[in-house]
């Protein structure tokens, strides 16, 4: 995927660019808002990682607003030290697709950026999600694995749906908390782990092959093949 990183801090930018390249993405970088706007408007990117406070007279918010004003809908991930709830709201209102605050863990950034690019594709509404022998019917809200029906609670269903929509991608605990529960705070207890473990009991335990995997220092991933 082609990703544009607009970030003026050299160390942070270098770290992000290196990490994204290692993850197999093609990355362009600029440390200047004006250049960032030019590049974002003139080239095709799958996602943009955007700092809010930028030199060059165009800050992140203006850059994004201009871009959206030109009907450019490239997914944008804000990466900012402005961490207040209002800042976040402002960023999302301006057309940002996600908002991360500094300092951040790279695994979280990578997982979220990859989730963004996935969101951009496949506009047609899906009615069925499939991963290996696991099938989810979104209309009848039923789940089958290897032809065997699995009974899930509504919340477990949504948790599995989220994992299946992001199959093959790392999904962090924060992403699950936001995406499945719509919570924007960090519980002290390992609530997500408990819920995932319950889901595993139903989805993975009775079957020889596990689908929900724990990714160390990052979160979870639903994938068909063993690594």
């Amino acid at each position: 995927m082609r990703i544009l990183v607009v970030e003026d801090d050299k160390d942070v930018a270098g770290f992000v660019v290196k990490g994204l390249r290692e993850a197999g993405h093609v990355v362009e970088h600029t440390g200047n808002g004006r250049d960032g706007l030019f590049m974002a408007a003139s080239e095709n990117f799958d996602a943009i990682v955007l700092d809010r406070m930028l030199p060059g007279g165009v800050d992140g918010l203006r850059l994004l607003e201009t871009l959206r004003g030109q009907n450019n809908h490239t997914p944008v991930m804000f990466l900012s030290a402005m961490a207040q709830v209002d800042d976040r709201v402002k960023g999302l209102k301006a057309g940002g697709d996600d908002y991360m605050t500094k300092p951040f863990a790279f695994a979280e950034l990578l997982a979220r950026v990859e989730a963004l690019t996935r969101r951009g594709k496949g506009d047609a509404p899906t009615t069925k999600l499939v991963a290996a022998d696991l099938e989810m019917d979104l209309l009848s809200r039923s789940v089958k694995r290897g032809g065997q029906k699995i009974d899930l609670q509504p919340r477990e269903f949504r948790l599995l749906e989220f994992l299946m929509r992001h199959a093959g991608q790392v999904v962090t605990r924060t992403m699950l908390l936001e995406g499945v529960w719509d919570y924007h705070f960090d519980p002290q207890t390992n609530v997500i782990d408990v819920h995932v473990s319950r889901l595993r009991q139903k989805v993975d335990k009775p079957f020889p092959q596990a689908l929900i995997h724990t990714v160390r220092n990052a979160g979870y991933m639903l994938r068909a093949e063993e690594v």
């Binding site: 961490a83 709830v85 709201v89 529960w181 919570y183 519980p187 002290q188 207890t189 609530v191």
Partner: protein, 495 residues
Amino acid sequence: MSDVAHAEPVIGQAATRRLTAPRLLKSAGFRFGVIYAALFGISAAALAAFLWWSTAGLLERQTVAAIDTDSDAMVTVFLAGGVGGVREAIRDRVTGNIDDDAVYLLVDQHYRPVEGNLNAWPQHLPMDEDWGELKLDRAGVPALMQVHYFDMPGDYHMLIGRDVAVRSQLGRLMTGALLWAAAIALVLGSVGAWAVRGLFRATIADVSATAMAVSAGDLSRRVTVAGADDEFDLLAETINDMLDRITRLMDGVSQVSNAIAHDLRTPITRARARLEDAATHAGTAEVLKAAIERGIADLDGIVGIFQALLRISEIEAGARRSAFAPIDLGPVLSDLVELYDAVAEERGLRLVADIATPLPAFGDRDMIQQAVANLLDNALKFSPDGGEIHLSAHESAGRLVIRVTDQGPGMPEEDMKRATERFFRGETARNTPGSGLGLSLVQAVAQLHGGDIELSDAHPGLDALLTLGLRPASAARPALLAAALRAKPQPASRS
């Protein structure tokens, strides 16, 4: 450097300011005094004028009216009965005039007396007017007469007068009295003006002295509430409320800086030590990597503390009140219970919920979620195996009451009071993970919602009672004050 040393010159300045003349003219207290004196003077003058008009003035008007009536009567008599009739009428009147306070004189064209109780036509009457005052010597007694003289048909001239000694006496009396009254009014007006100015200054002085002391740094000063429950008391209470809030915010700021100085030092020291130790002593790449990862985890913990601190101050600053909206807390709390129920079950605990539905509230959904989540986090953390956690939520007396009870070790009385302080960790909590910020956040959320958090002993365990106002607290108070001020004049005008 002491704040008091700064306060001295400021107050000194105000004192000299009070004494200079141009300042005096600008002073609102002086203006009120002058306005009072002017109003008092005008009222006194109006009263005096009315008194004069209704006494001395009335006498004069009566005299003039009597003379006028007499004159008209004489002319009528002349037209009916000629000179003879007039002479007879004059004689009648002179004899009938027991008080001897009237003069009549009829003269011919050569001003020779024809009839009357006056010997001769007075010398000094100006002939171009027909009213005048005449000094007479009547039987050795000097008298002042108001006279009217006019031409009669047939070249006769007539003079009719009345003694006005009483009037002039009364006039002198009145003038004297009014002069005295004016002097007294001047004194009373000045004293009153001074008193009004003093009253005004006294009312303002306390407020201004308090404000000056506060701006000089003494945040403990408060405006005295007189207890009269009037507009000034309302103002004083409002100012005091404002000062309380400022104090709380200031305390928060200094608490946070203290906390950063002391409580963040520990995890930072730990992280630093680990990294330095790894840098100098790590034998293999694996050991080094593990040390770095632990260092990162330590830093993440520190970042977490920072974020919690910032979130609390963000909430305390009230900046997020814009996100307040009517919400149904029923499903919000049920979702939370569902989220934590799994964890409770995992740990062999029972989470029992009793949530009223619907549970309409007014506030910030995310904040209330986080506050209740913190309470549940705590309850889970301190519950013994097999214990029960109760969460109940209902509306009571116009407030939302959310109660979380556990069966853990509870908290000593003195810890309960300090539990909402930032970084405070009770003895029993020392060995559990946590930053000591959870309840601070709960309290900040509660206060923003016009409520509070109360901790009590559940025998055994801890009972956390979170109350939330159904509407934001600060919006209510100015409205209350405005309503009170609007309502004030009514009872006054009725009395």
